[in-house]
């Protein structure tokens, strides 16, 4: 994939709003994960989560819409791109927070349904909101491939820009919700302490929420209008494990295929990669399988590896977009974030961890991994040059 420039970034998460807040947080490496306050956890323990400061998204509409618009407006920087374009958004649960509130209030009683149920439950509602609120005219696609949703939205949007020009607003969103909080608990995947990716003592993931968007356009168009080029999307690879509904392939088959496909798309060798922002959820199975996959792709010459989920929590469908923004920030700032929460590396995971405190280093190519339920594996490559 050639010539797809990133000319706008927007992000909101538990770390705050905007690039500045996230760069500071990457450098400081302090976890914002705290016991959930968005809803009462009922008979469940109050697990730590990455909750967005409510002051950033004043309550006027459903939470996922507020998160979406907040980040998308940042990415566009007050400008509505003209001409044909694509909006590709990834989300796992869309407006489930609002539809579950409605359901729990009415408990499914016949005749109690209101318009809000389907209005906010449909994932595709969010792209329509962007079109209306931001005055855009574009083809709309909503990807819902679980925790790789927004990574696939970015890859698809970038591939459209590479093939036919125009512009693409790509990214993703997910808000915290009871269904994911109770659901990941039912799978015994929630950690009682802030998550510790790749750590020997890791016990599971910490949920998070947020949104992030990237504005993509052909390099030539960006240069012509004098837009700042923050980086390039150069590779997208996705592959399926075809193995299990929720567990990763134990040898990371799909993850290997996704990374190799993304590197081939970028036209680079494994040795050209400086840093991998791992999926790194801190579940026992994911981190081991991803470690094996990284070894299979990169061998002994492993690039620097870290997971940023100790900073943001696992934001599910938004994770690919949030971590893509962090990757572009790493490229443009020359700062590689460490894995927050990692204290005693699991000896079974033989990768080259970013040292505590992070590392200042010029980067030319970075990979972002995102994996999801159903054996979905996606890798993106971001580069400092086209």
């Amino acid at each position: 994939m050639r010539g797809v420039a990133v000319t706008g970034l927007g992000i909101v998460s538990a770390l705050g709003s905007g690039l500045g807040a996230h760069l500071v947080a990457m450098r400081e490496g302090r976890t914002p994960l705290r016991p959930v306050t968005l809803f009462p956890p009922g008979d469940l323990a109050s697990f730590p989560v990455g909750e967005v400061d409510p002051a950033l998204i004043p309550r006027r509409s459903p939470r996922c819409i507020r998160l979406t618009l907040h980040a998308a407006r940042q990415a566009l920087g007050g400008r509505a791109p003209g001409g044909p374009g694509v909006i590709a958004l990834g989300t796992t649960t869309g407006g489930i927070l609002d539809s579950e509130q409605h359901y729990l209030k009415h408990r499914g009683a016949i005749g109690a349904e209101d318009r809000g149920l389907l209005l906010h439950h449909a994932m595709g509602t969010l792209t329509g909101v962007l079109v209306r609120a931001l005055g855009l005219s574009a083809e709309e696609h909503t990807f819902s491939t679980a925790c790789s949703s927004s990574a696939n939205a970015i890859g698809f949007g970038a591939s459209v820009v590479a093939r036919q020009g125009g512009w693409a607003l790509v990214g993703g969103v997910d808000s915290l919700a009871r269904i994911t909080y109770a659901g990941f608990h039912s799978l015994k995947l929630l950690s009682s302490v802030p998550c510790r990716p790749f750590d020997r003592r890791r016990r599971g993931l910490s949920l998070g929420e947020g949104a992030a968007f990237l504005l993509l356009e052909p390099e030539a168009d960006a240069r012509q209008r004098g837009a700042p080029i923050l980086g390039f999307v150069t590779g997208w690879g996705c592959a399926s494990d075809a193995h299990h509904a929720t567990a990763p392939h134990p040898r990371g088959d799909g993850a290997v295929a996704a990374m190799q496909s993304a590197l081939a798309d970028a036209g680079i060798r494994p040795s050209n990669v400086d840093y991998v922002n791992a999926h790194g959820t801190a579940t026992p199975a994911n981190d081991v399988a991803e470690g094996i996959a990284l070894q299979r792709v990169f061998g002994d010459d492993c690039p620097l590896i870290s997971s940023t989920k100790g900073l943001t929590g696992h934001t599910l469908g938004a994770a690919g977009a949030i971590e893509s923004v962090l990757c572009v920030l790493a490229l443009s700032s020359g700062f590689v974030p460490a894995t927050t929460g990692l204290e005693e590396p699991d000896p079974e995971i033989r990768v080259r961890h970013v040292p505590p405190g992070g590392l200042a280093r010029p980067l030319s190519a970075v990979v972002s991994n995102s994996f999801g339920f159903g054996g979905n594996n996606t890798a993106l490559v971001f580069s400092s040059s086209a």
């Binding site: 729990l104 349904e113 329509g128 005219s137 696609h141 591939s159 909080y181 039912s186």
Partner: protein
């Protein structure tokens, strides 16, 4: 090379599947699997991708999970219902049961989920040799009640359709699949003034012998589509997914399959323009051509 249609499938009820792993799958997954197997019959693709379109995904399993939380508490949600409530569940199961290891994606674009999946599937042909596009929706009381609450007159149905795409050869070519957005309330379709120009232009440029499959999600929208096209238009009547039969959010691909099968019965060159509409202002134009 213009992509060709190499397999078609459509079901309106789950059937028996030869794989015992399929027997306990949710209804949505079994609908999707039935259509997928039909489209893949006689094919053993080496390099295959999958795109599943679904407007509401596993709504029944979402309700089952929420019910378990209501009945027994947050600590006792059903693990199975949870992962089967995720919209990507059907695509994940299909990849396992059909051994698909290429790109496997799920699209959820309200009432244009089938068309959006087709558009993404066509784009994936840059990356894999063949792409299976599946659209599926299950009928649930929540879906029915939700549509009724919109004040629409939808008769909600369920079903699944599948199209196997490849680079050719084939007698059916997908000439175009484009999606557009119009500013509209999330509870409304595009207005007659918004939907008319794209629809008329797409039909006018195809010359004679053009069939049109209209979206017709409600009688009012159907009247607007017919008025835009004029009395001379050759409209495929009683299409699945329209208000005259029964509507479901992924029915656009079911209409595509029916139109493609109809074209295959014709002797000369013929074209079908398929019009799609979604609540919130989405519009699609798909053109499939049959070469004599």
């Amino acid at each position: 090379m213009t992509p060709t249609v190499q397999g078609l499938g459509a079901v309106d009820a789950p059937g028996a599947d030869p794989d015992p792993r399929a027997h306990r799958l949710p209804r949505l997954e079994r609908l999707a699997l039935g259509a997928a197997r039909e489209a893949l019959a006689g094919h053993s693709p080496e390099s295959l991708g999958l795109v599943v379109g679904t407007g509401y995904g596993g709504l029944a399993m979402t309700e089952a999970f929420l019910r378990s939380v209501v009945d027994r508490g947050m600590a006792f949600g059903s693990a199975t219902a949870f992962h089967q409530s995720v919209p990507h569940s059907a695509a994940g199961y299909l990849s396992m049961l059909l051994g698909i290891r290429g790109p496997v994606l799920t699209i959820s674009q309200r009432e244009l989920s089938g068309e959006s999946a087709l558009r993404v599937g066509l784009a994936l042909l840059d990356r894999v040799e063949q792409v299976l596009v599946v659209a599926a929706e299950e009928q649930t009381s929540l879906l029915e009640a939700g549509y009724q609450a919109f004040g629409s007159v939808f008769r909600v149905a369920e079903g699944a359709a599948a199209v196997l795409l490849g680079p050719g050869p084939g007698r059916l070519r997908v000439e175009r699949c484009d999606l557009f957005s119009h500013p509209a309330s999330p509870r409304r379709f595009a207005s007659p003034a918004q939907l008319g120009p794209r629809l008329v232009e797409s039909v006018a440029t195809k010359g004679a012998n053009v069939l049109v499959s209209i979206a017709a999600p409600t009688p009012a929208v159907e009247r607007a589509e017919r008025a835009a096209l004029g009395p001379e238009a050759r409209i495929l009547e009683d299409q699945p997914g329209t208000t005259r039969v029964a509507f479901h959010p992924s029915a656009g691909l079911a209409r595509f399959v029916l139109a493609a099968r109809h074209l295959l019965t014709t002797s000369g060159e013929s074209v079908c323009v398929l019009h799609g509409l979604a609540l919130g202002g989405g519009q699609s134009i798909t053109v499939v051509r049959h070469d004599a």
